[in-house]
């Protein structure tokens, strides 16, 4: 439990380690694509950490990175094939950022730092923590960006063919002359939101540290 908590709060990949920001900022236009991307990363992280930890004693230093990339690439392709076959709308919504999980620093980083050194149980728990931390972080970014940028919350839209219903909430806040602020739908808005959230995260963490001292 402590390992999972560590992954979500102390070593949050987006707010603390600042890893995998490319996909984190690109898919946070809607809440739906953000949490679905997070789930994809979580699944790939769990399976790749499990396999890498299982074969950690067989892999020598000289072939470590090629072997890890091969394993991560296999799981990413499996997820890609399954999404293309069963949820094609989601596959097209995530676009190029789905195959790019192969080179996502979070997955490769955890493979190098944790899965190649720790036992299977601890590696999988760490993967769950880091995956949940990433999912939570990008969902919060997407929520703020979508509300401020378009005044809507899209929970279920592109996967409606799979679930059978849509869940899009419009006019969350009263519209004015300056609201919604369309800059939040652009990449500038993504960086601004991330910067404010990192500052807020550090402030909360700093406050807790001072209290314990």
């Amino acid at each position: 439990m402590k390992t999972i908590y560590n992954g979500i709060i102390k070593e949050n990949p987006t707010f603390v380690l600042l890893l995998g920001l490319c996909s984190a900022l690109a898919v946070t236009k809607t809440v739906e694509s953000a949490y679905l991307m997070g789930i994809c990363v979580l699944v790939i992280l769990i399976f790749s950490s499990f396999v890498i930890s299982l074969i950690r004693k067989l892999v020598t230093d000289s072939v470590r990175i090629p072997v890890y990339i091969l394993i991560i690439g296999t799981f990413v392709t499996i997820v890609e094939v399954l999404l293309k076959e069963y949820i094609p709308d989601l596959y097209s919504a995530l676009g190029i950022y789905l195959p790019l999980i192969v080179v996502n620093c979070i997955v490769l980083g955890r493979a190098m730092v944790v899965a190649s050194k720790e036992n299977v149980g601890k590696s999988v728990l760490d993967a769950i923590g880091i995956g949940l931390g990433f999912t939570l972080a990008i969902t919060i970014i997407a929520l703020i960006r979508e509300i401020l940028g378009t005044n809507t919350i899209t929970l279920i839209d592109s996967i409606s063919s799979f679930t059978g219903y849509k869940a899009i909430y419009k006019d969350i806040l009263p519209s004015t002359d300056i609201f919604p602020i369309s800059i939040f739908t652009t990449s500038t808005g993504a960086f601004l939101t991330l910067a404010f959230l990192i500052a807020l995260f550090n402030k909360i963490k700093g406050g807790k540290k001072n209290e314990s001292n």
């Binding site: 074969i55 067989l58 892999v59 020598t60 000289s62 072939v63 090629p66 072997v67 091969l70 394993i71 690439g73 296999t74 392709t77 499996i78 094939v81 399954l82 293309k84 076959e85 069963y86």
Partner: protein, 33 residues
């Protein structure tokens, strides 16, 4: 030298197993890449 041979062997076996797994999954879902 022995480490290099072991490394190449591990890499080859991993590549083979990964290809086999992908082949099975693609055939199972009947999807085309």
């Amino acid at each position: 030298m022995q480490d290099n041979i072991k490394g190449i062997l591990v890499l080859t076996i991993t590549a083979f197993v990964c290809s086999l797994l992908l082949y099975l999954v693609i055939n199972l879902v009947g999807g085309n890449i």
